[in-house]
């Protein structure tokens, strides 16, 4: 499952990640974190609600992972995306890629991040410090 309802614990994810025991010289970790943007004067984002079309989102992320593995010489890939309410400072999105060499790892991780943001049916609603909400 790529979508998770609970808070993402990076240490736990890394503990279970397959670093390749010697065959991979590179592991790259990307974390997307909810930012407290100032939307208008004195009004900040306090949390984000992530809505998802879950069965389709799972399928789309699986396709992106498969495509990345076909396109780039990489080894292990881990992708997680939060759904529901995520507070400022919390991780909303994680991608980890291990590969023999760093260059293909960087290319692959950029590809995965861009494709997830472009294709996967997930939507964010910002919850503002004044109580208003805005679909992004």
């Amino acid at each position: 499952m790529y979508l998770v309802k609970e808070k993402i614990n990076l240490e736990e994810l890394l503990k279970n990640f397959d670093f390749g025991s010697g065959k991979n010289g590179s592991t790259i970790i990307f974390t997307g974190i909810v930012r407290s943007d100032e939307i208008k004067k004195g009004v900040f984002v306090s949390k984000i609600f992530y809505d998802a079309y879950e069965p389709m989102a799972e399928k789309e992320i699986a396709k992106i992972e498969k495509e990345a593995k076909e396109k780039f010489p990489i080894d292990s890939v881990l992708i997680k995306h939060r759904v529901g309410f995520v507070d400022v400072g919390e991780i909303s999105f994680v991608v980890i890629v291990s590969s023999p060499h760093r260059e293909e790892g960087f290319k692959a991780i950029q590809f995965i991040i861009d494709e997830v943001k472009r294709k996967v049916p997930i939507w964010k609603k910002e919850i503002l410090s004044n109580g208003e909400t805005v679909w992004v």
Binding site: Y53, P55, M56, V120, I122, W123, V136
Partner: protein
């Protein structure tokens, strides 16, 4: 067998607020074009909205016939990450 054809229609993101519900179930809709016409009549505010259509979890770009138990989703521009 048109009579009992059941179609589930799901709304996401800002479209949920616009139509005021997460999903509806409808019947006797021939194809996607028919469904759109039905939805625009039922929810006139949908007309100005940008969205793609997913049929059984795949985005479709052409009109398709609908069959019993199909799931259609209205997908506004995505914003994950």
């Amino acid at each position: 067998m048109m009579e009992n054809k059941k179609i589930r229609v799901l709304f996401f993101g800002r479209l949920r607020d616009i139509v005021g519900t997460n999903e509806i179930v409808t019947s006797d809709i021939k194809d996607i074009e028919d469904l759109k016409k039905y939805l625009f009549e039922k929810f006139p505010k949908l007309k100005g909205e940008i969205f793609s259509i997913a049929l059984n979890y795949e985005i479709i770009h052409t009109n398709e016939n609908l069959k019993d138990n199909d799931e259609v989703a209205l997908i506004p521009p995505v914003s994950g990450g």
